[in-house]
């Protein structure tokens, strides 16, 4: 039990580091607001190794800590909405017949954008913001495929070193 908490803590730290490292990548996508979502790799790994609840805990704690560290408290509703929506949809997609982590990650990336755009629409009371979703949606397919395959590769390595 203790070992599990230690591991979850380490995964949270790793997710935060990746979230920061991502900002160092020069804006590869020309779409404003587009990003790879590297922290989601960790969310997926935790989800597969420890289950949905642990993944939710890691996501919420990461959002809280990142909001205070880099984003400012104002960014908290956006990251929470994105993170929780994405995790919920990923869990759902994995129940589908034949879906792999890649498909889950693609759907999750889209759900993340959807959650953030929805919260923006509510906070700024402007329905036009939804126009961001369509463009970001295309990005989410590429970014999701990338993070999904990364997570699968990591999980393969981890399962080879079980007990470590």
């Amino acid at each position: 039990m203790k070992a599990k908490f230690v591991k979850l803590g380490m995964f949270t730290a790793l997710a935060m580091a990746l979230q920061w490292a991502e900002t160092l990548i020069p804006v590869g996508f020309s779409v404003p607001g587009g990003k790879l979502g590297l922290a989601n790799i960790i969310t997926m790994i935790v989800m597969q190794l420890f289950g949905g609840r642990s993944a939710l805990a890691v996501t919420v704690i990461r959002c809280l800590l990142s909001a205070f560290l880099y984003g400012g408290v104002m960014s908290l509703p956006y990251s929470l909405a994105g993170g929780i929506m994405s995790l919920a949809l990923m869990k759902l997609v994995l129940k589908l017949h034949g879906a792999s982590l890649t498909g889950a990650a693609i759907a999750g990336a889209f759900a993340h954008n959807f959650g953030q755009v929805l919260v923006s629409c509510i906070i700024m009371q402007n329905i036009y913001i939804i126009n961001y979703l369509w463009v970001l949606g295309f990005v989410s397919v590429g970014a999701g495929a990338f993070t999904g395959i990364c997570a699968s590769l990591c999980l393969k390595k981890i399962s080879l070193n079980k007990g470590g």
Partner: protein, 125 residues
């Protein structure tokens, strides 16, 4: 070990691409651009009629309790050229010229969009 990319994954990706394509198509307004509207916290901060603006660009300073932005406007549209926000997503956004296009500065709760003839405020609520 599951495969890295299955048929179901491809279906999911396709569905998302189709949703976004339909979304892009249906929200693309055919109205001619008429006004630049600046809103903070869901309330109109200022609006400019495109026809009354000259070819020469004007810089509008927007000061709110959240921070400062500078918007460059001319008769074609609007472009955010400065913001003291953290993510700078609004500054990286391209110039908006068509009706329905929008620049959002989420940290400052600021939206700048172009409204077309007629539909202006009914849609934004």
């Amino acid at each position: 070990m599951k495969q890295y990319f299955t048929f179901t994954d491809l279906l999911i990706a396709t569905v998302i691409v189709i949703i976004c394509a339909i979304g892009l198509k249906t929200t693309a307004s055919t109205d001619s651009a008429e006004k630049i509207i600046i809103e903070t916290d869901g309330k109109i901060y200022a609006s400019y009629n495109l026809k009354s603006l000259g070819k020469e660009a004007r810089d509008i300073e927007i000061n709110t309790k959240y921070g400062k932005n500078i918007l460059r406007i001319d008769c074609e549209g609007a472009d955010m050229i400065y913001s003291d926000c953290l993510n700078q997503i609004d500054v990286r956004h391209k110039k908006i010229t068509k009706s329905g296009e929008i620049i959002v500065c989420a940290p400052h709760r600021l939206t700048v969009y172009i409204s077309g003839s007629g539909e202006a405020d009914a849609v934004s609520r």
